[in-house]
Symmetry: C2
Subunit: 137 residues, 2 copies
């Protein structure tokens, strides 16, 4: 621990962008959020990274699929340890779009864990990426 | 497994309300979501249940604290196993308010893991509680 990080020992420590990207890439899944007339909706999905973009697969026939056509969305990953009460979280605020760029080979595309027709690939382009680590007291 | 659940073996299985409540109660933390001008925001918090309501503590001087004054919010808990690709998630859509009801004794109030001034107790009253389990293929 660097000396100037000590003050944060009982607080959140903001994460650098590169660390946020690394944590996004090492997480097998996260949670996508969108706004509906009934307020925000948060659903877990498994994702892959394409550079700084987030890709995941879903069905075009669901509310989630329809909500991803365009607009502001969020994507969150986190990991906490209940015993030590330490952990981290990363929040991506960005814009969703349907992806047909074929930049990824089929085998590199995110495979949904849930079966069914999930042939819609959604791309989230980050506008703002923030993260924080909760350090031991 | 009941016979009529077999069809769901490669799909999501919807969870009953009582099971959702049990999973909310057994989770040490979850993620609260609110809508901002820049789209949805998702942040992890540790919570306790008060009946069907969710309580957590934060600072009144943060964007999260200000966003919890009123309005539609969401709260999500989940747990997934990367190896077996099974897990579950519960989503609460409800309304947030500042809580000063003193229905809980101080020692029962949710203790935030992060230090600092987090003397605002937020109550989320559910309007809609849904959950699903991802079963092994």
């Amino acid at each position: 621990m660097m000396v100037n990080e000590r003050w944060y020992a009982t607080h959140f420590k903001e994460l650098a962008f590169t660390e946020c990207l690394q944590l996004l890439g090492s997480s097998p899944g996260g949670r996508v959020a969108y706004s509906s007339d009934e307020g925000p909706v948060v659903l877990p999905v498994n994702h892959v990274m394409d550079g700084e973009d987030i890709l995941f697969r879903t069905s075009p026939h669901t509310e989630l699929g329809r909500a991803m056509r365009s607009g502001h969305v969020a994507f969150e990953v986190d990991e906490f340890d209940e015993v030590s009460r330490t952990g981290w979280s990363v929040l991506v605020r960005g814009d969703a779009e349907y992806d047909d760029s074929d930049v990824l080979l089929p085998e590199d595309r995110p495979g949904p864990w849930a079966a069914g027709t999930r042939n819609l690939v959604v791309r989230i382009r980050p506008r703002l990426v923030t993260g924080r680590r909760l350090l031991a007291r």
